[in-house]
């Protein structure tokens, strides 16, 4: 799974520009699923038919399950080119712009670009005390004229942070776009395990989550699931200087279940079903303890006639910055937890009881 994650992170996939990630995932999984297509918004929708189809069970409808992870990451887009060759840009998705000055990003086909920053020696006193204003930031790709820049990085070119997957110490790994390539890696592993479950399981790799939960909305509207589990990365603030009540999740304490975030109140009975699966299989888990953020669960829950949703997330420090940090074990346990949950449906006829 780590190698899959490494491969996914190596591919740029800013919201609306997920082509390379989509191609990679599509080519890897398509021989393991019963049906697969790309929808109008570029999301991959695949399905593994359930064992109920070949069983002797009566014709009662077996709930449809949807698993979802988003392929897109936060990033940048070039919005104008200055006469001196520097580039104006906008963010795509929520990035804390205070972290940007002095960083290097990659544009288009791996073109390095520096986010310019005034040297400390030249800053006025008030300037020094404050964060740089976003509208004064620019990208330097080493050109000196507008014409040169237009050839290399025209308006509309997307950009990503550059950090690749790195193994840190103590079981921790870091990289950009862990949100939500980690979710994609977990779902790919589930598909490639070859295991079939009781219910039909629709596994979706969605687009444009970071700019408004878009791809998951249309995917859910097409699939009309009864039950959905969103696999995500989430805020983890178990770092110095944070009050105990604001920590949200702890890296290494297992995957985190969401009770409520800013956009969704997760289904209690589905959460309990997942907790039972965790307890029966000795898997550790935690709750997300801060009501913050929102993810694809919000759009899936309200699609069509509504759906029971849960969200299982890997704690990720420094989320939405140039590189996050997460615990490898949390990722592996999350994978196992979802598999155990899906297996539990066999004894309940596919339903949450």
């Amino acid at each position: 799974m780590l190698e899959t994650l490494r491969a996914l992170i190596a591919l740029p996939g800013v919201s609306g520009n997920e082509d390379k990630v989509r191609e990679y995932i599509y080519n890897r999984i398509n021989s393991y699923v019963d049906e697969i297509y790309i929808d109008a918004l570029g999301s991959i929708i695949s399905v593994k038919y359930g064992n109920y189809r070949t069983s002797n069970c009566n014709n009662e409808t077996v709930p449809r399950i949807m698993l979802s992870a988003h392929m897109d990451e936060v990033g940048f887009i070039i919005s104008a080119i200055n006469d001196d060759g520097t580039l104006k840009f906008q963010t795509v998705g929520g990035i804390e712009t205070g972290i940007l000055p002095g960083k290097k990003i990659l544009l288009g086909d791996n073109i390095p670009a520096i986010i310019g920053c005034k040297p400390i020696h030249l800053q006025e006193k008030e300037e020094f005390e404050k964060r740089a204003e976003f509208k004064n930031l620019y990208l330097d790709i080493g050109t000196t004229t507008k014409a040169e820049s237009e050839k290399i990085a025209p308006i509309g070119t997307y950009g990503t942070f550059e950090q690749q997957l790195t193994i840190l110490n103590g079981g921790k790994i870091s990289g950009r776009a862990l949100d939500d390539r980690v979710g994609c890696a977990i779902l790919m592993t589930i598909i490639e395990s070859g295991e079939r479950f009781w219910n039909d399981v629709y596994i979706c790799f969605t687009t444009m989550e970071e700019i408004g939960l878009r791809g998951s909305k249309t995917a859910a509207q097409s699939i009309k699931p009864d039950i959905a589990i969103v696999v995500e990365a989430t805020t983890c603030a178990d770092v110095p200087g944070v009050q105990a009540e604001s920590v949200c999740t702890i890296s290494g304490n297992g995957p985190a279940l969401t009770l409520m975030d800013r956009s969704t109140i997760c289904d209690k009975s589905l959460n309990n079903f997942i907790i039972n699966a965790a307890n029966s299989n000795g898997l550790k888990y935690q709750f997300k303890r801060l009501v913050a953020g929102g993810n694809d669960a919000a759009s899936i829950q309200k699609a069509g006639e509504g759906c029971r949703v849960a969200s299982i997330s890997i704690p990720c420090r420094y989320i939405h910055s140039s590189q996050g940090v997460m615990d490898k074990e949390d990722m592996l346990i999350c994978n196992e937890l979802i598999m155990c949950t899906l297996r539990s449906f066999k004894s309940t006829g596919g339903k949450i009881c």
């Binding site: 800013v14 919201s15 609306g16 520009n17 082509d19 989509r22 191609e23 599509y26 080519n27 790309i38 929808d39 109008a40 918004l41 570029g42 897109d72 940048f76 887009i77 070039i78 919005s79 104008a80 104006k88 906008q90 963010t91 795509v92 998705g93 509208k135 025209p154 308006i155 509309g156 070119t157 444009m208 700019i211 408004g212 878009r214 909305k217 249309t218 509207q221 097409s222």
Partner: protein, 353 residues
């Protein structure tokens, strides 16, 4: 092609604020009936003009502009006959004092939004923006007269004021957002009346874009087209504004690259402009939520959308201003797109892997 200024002025002058588009919908219906195979108005006053394509297996293309205009609404009739009001959609209260308006009660009544004479204004007040609750409308009528004609909920719009400016190219009027593009729909329908396209065209004059996008939502869910082209306005450049968010009037309409706007369709529009030497400007937007494309994209199974916008100065005031050549060019680009063969559309809509 010359712009029919009389028709454009008329379209800008007809009442139709968000939620109360009945007046403008009738005019649009009348005009579209001259060219379309079928014209329908729904319960939300959206107008649908259908032109059937020649091809055996036509794709369906929706071209949409919004017919609603910004406006205000009577909230309370004061004891002395003055009216208190609220906004229906985004209006800057700073432009309201001293503004001529029309109240649409039992019949149309002219009025002025009152303002404090300079002699009486206190210095601090001169610097603050007015609160909506402090503003009022003076009709000159007595309380009894007002109550006989006007009630809570009646809508208020700017007094029509269309005029061609000295250059002969710049045109100013309230409601050019987005009646200028509604005009474009009517012209396009007329072009295709005698020159039947390969693919089905549906001209959607949509209600409610300034508020809740009811038109785009209904239209998208009902029609489920293969492609949608959204025509709206964007910020015209005036001194002091950001170069990446504003565009010069007279240099062509703006084609937007944004995460939610489909790359394949946008790419096709750019290809058309480049191959036919059509003047246009390019915009990159980190989100893309400024038009009905936002609502259309996520209808049902998803609709690939592209957007063409007209640079417009002084947006959401009574003196919106455009360059008529930009409007002509917009119509040209859409005409070329609609003239694509059925198989060209098919190829465009494939996901390239």
């Amino acid at each position: 092609m010359e712009i029919n200024i009389e028709l454009l002025s008329e379209l800008c002058s007809i009442e139709g604020p968000s939620g109360r588009e009945i007046g403008i919908s009738r005019k649009v219906q009348e005009e579209l009936k001259k060219s379309c195979d079928k014209v329908l108005i729904d319960a939300f006053y959206n107008v649908f003009g259908y032109i059937n394509g020649k091809s055996v297996n036509p794709k369906t293309v929706v071209i949409t502009a919004h017919q609603d205009q910004i406006g205000l609404m009577v909230k309370k009739v004061e004891e002395n006959g003055f009216l208190r009001f609220t906004k229906i959609s985004g209006i800057d209260p700073k432009i309201l004092p001293s503004q001529q308006i029309v109240i649409h009660g039992e019949r149309d009544i002219d009025g002025i939004i009152g303002s404090t004479p300079p002699h009486l204004a206190v210095d601090e007040d001169k610097k603050k923006k007015p609160d909506f609750d402090e503003l009022y409308i003076d009709t000159g009528l007595t309380t009894e007269q007002v109550k006989a004609i006007i009630r809570v909920g009646d809508t208020i719009t700017f007094k029509p004021n269309a005029c061609l400016l000295a250059s002969g190219k710049m045109f100013t009027s309230s409601s050019l957002d987005d009646r200028s593009c509604v005009y474009a729909l009517i012209e396009l329908a007329a072009i295709f009346k005698n020159n039947r396209p390969e693919n089905n065209l549906v001209f959607l004059s949509a209600s409610g874009e300034e508020t809740f996008s009811i038109g785009a939502t209904v239209g998208g869910n009902l029609l489920q087209p293969d492609v949608a082209i959204v025509l709206d306005v964007t910020f015209g450049r005036t001194p002091g504004l950001d170069v990446d968010k504003t565009f010069k009037c007279g240099e062509g309409p703006v084609i937007t690259i944004a995460p939610i706007l489909d790359k394949r369709v946008t790419g096709k529009l750019l290809e058309i402009c480049n191959s036919k030497n059509i003047k246009f400007q390019l915009e990159a937007d980190g989100k893309g939520n400024g038009s009905d494309a936002w609502a259309l994209q996520v209808c049902q199974k998803g609709i690939p959308c592209a957007q063409i916008t007209l640079p417009l100065k002084y947006m959401h005031t009574a003196v919106e201003t455009i360059n008529l050549d930009d409007l002509t060019t917009t119509i040209n680009i859409v005409e070329e797109f609609c003239n694509l063969q059925q198989n060209e559309m098919e190829v465009m809509l494939c996901w390239k892997h």
